[in-house]
Symmetry: C2
Subunit: 146 residues, 2 copies
Amino acid sequence: MDELQLAEQMLSCVTKMRRALDERLKVYGLSVPRKRVLGALTEGPVRQGTLAAAFAVTPRTITELVDGLQRDGLVERRDDPADRRARLVCLTPAGRLADEQAKAARAEVIGGMFADLPAEDRAALARILTSIDHRLGAVPLDERTR
Amino acid sequence: MDELQLAEQMLSCVTKMRRALDERLKVYGLSVPRKRVLGALTEGPVRQGTLAAAFAVTPRTITELVDGLQRDGLVERRDDPADRRARLVCLTPAGRLADEQAKAARAEVIGGMFADLPAEDRAALARILTSIDHRLGAVPLDERTR
DNA sequence: TATTGTTATACTCTATAACTATA
DNA sequence: TATAGTTATAGAGTATAACAATA
């Protein structure tokens, strides 16, 4: 099965990438989901419900993640002046620092992956992945915040 | 960052693929790791330690997975006649059936992903992924059993 | 009535460490 | 002394369901 092998190669690459990333993020007390939350807060406070929708997880999952990040002093919860039911999550200075360090670590890992890949291969890869991505359905997550 | 975007596209594709797979496997009481174990047993009984090495996880993780699969009647543990410390894991008829159904479901999901991709794009993708995979380090897992 | 986020509860996958049985 | 796999314990990430406060 040709297709199965392609899928396995993609899985293999991504698995290794995630492992490498997790390894690097651990230094800053982060994980991929935790980093994803921090990354979503750099522009300013965000509601928990918005985060849940952005990452396509349940509100419960966000409660859990934010609890942990708050415990570690990386984020704060504030009341939303516009809706007293809602909570706004925002970065602390420590959280902003961790996010920036994590961003640099991530760039390093990913840079290593594609380092020697010729420009035309990058273009081809981007084009092919885009078409596969579309075939798999509309983008439900804000992948840019990973 | 061009490279970051490529990485995000790969993550997005694989995330969606995993979700689609998980959704389909759930019907058979399986998950991706559980299916992976079943798939490794189709040729015959395998020691737990061998499974741990093949998937690059700790023996503890295999104990957990095999416990669950055994509870559901999909695998059995047997004594290894060659080493009384070791346990051989083997498929039950129900496990073999589940594995085959899961395989078909997987082929369907993956077939859909690559359905309309031209042959030259498949070849390019395979070549590029192979080079990235190598750059990420030697293959520690038996990816074929996924 | 509907929505926001919490508690309560539970499952899967993963890990480390200590231990038992065997080699 | 080393190995195979278990118990014991833990933690992250995820889910559903019931509920409180608010809209």
